[in-house]
Symmetry: C2
Subunit: 174 residues, 2 copies
């Protein structure tokens, strides 16, 4: 799909296609449709990023809270979104040893207790060992630092999801 095809989409088709580029936040996709036409994939991504940046801090925390735990209950129950399932599986989150799973669960709980939102990281840019390492390290941060860091990761996830939807072959590069 090239950018002119994106710009021609009705809001309904736009939200159906891109509604989960920010996990479980179709309202963000639906909002940025107001800012079309987009000159490029980067412009669409920037519109999403700007919308997020303009939210109050509670809104940014709300975005983080719409994300599932890594290797958490949703993965175990099969209730992850399609995108999250693929991303978590790609990073090996569905194939942890029992020791790794126990450590991940313990650190996830510690993180959520400290920050009141879940640990968010772009799983497609990290492997299992690195995710565990970063989760452990990021538990030591201050809340404001970690909120901003989580939102940075949301944007990385968003970029890769957009690319997957738009750049299905080189000829359609935006």
């Amino acid at each position: 799909m090239d950018i002119s095809a994106v710009n021609a989409l009705s809001y309904e088709d736009f939200v159906n296609t891109f509604g989960n580029v920010v996990e479980k936040c179709p309202v963000i996709t639906a909002a940025v449709w107001s800012r079309r036409p987009f000159v490029s994939l980067n412009a669409l991504e920037a519109a999403i990023s700007d919308f997020i940046d303009e939210l109050p801090e509670s809104g940014k925390e709300g975005i983080l809270r719409c994300h599932p735990d890594l290797a958490g209950r949703d993965l175990q129950r099969g209730t992850l979104t399609r995108e999250s399932r693929q991303e978590q599986a790609g990073a090996g989150m569905d194939a942890l040893t029992s020791g790794e799973a126990e450590r991940m669960a313990r650190l996830n709980e510690e993180y959520k207790k400290r920050f009141e939102f879940p640990f968010v990281i772009c799983a497609r840019m990290n492997d299992k060992a690195n995710i565990l390492l970063q989760l452990s390290e990021r538990c030591q941060n201050e809340r404001a630092v970690e909120r901003a860091r989580g939102i940075e990761e949301v944007k990385k996830i968003c970029r890769l999801r957009l690319q997957s939807l738009l750049l299905t072959d080189g000829a359609n590069k935006l």
Copy 2:
């Protein structure tokens, strides 16, 4: 559930319980969890309302675009959320005559073409005849007026959904 029980919920349970009080916008619920404790149902409702009011106009349009058409494709395909299905059925949207269905479809399209978001009305506070009348009349408004009017309706829907979740018996009145 009384308000002290609401205030004791983890963000995960809070979003699981109240995540669809604004249709398909769990991020709003997840954001207002930051503002707990709430002294009453009204305070929770006010926190949601304030969050919506602070969004840019594009964000308000985004909320409206997360709503399904009345008697539209989602109803026909069975893909409405549970809340919307009940509300639309209560207003008789699943039992239109062919003439009413045709008129509703035509007016919905006219409305969306004019305003670039769907017609939103609190179905539980209106019957079939009144919904068709208001849809027809509101098609004549200016866009800014209609955006504000749609958001008013979103808040009415939110209030009734919150009440349904919280006021399951008189003894728990908040």
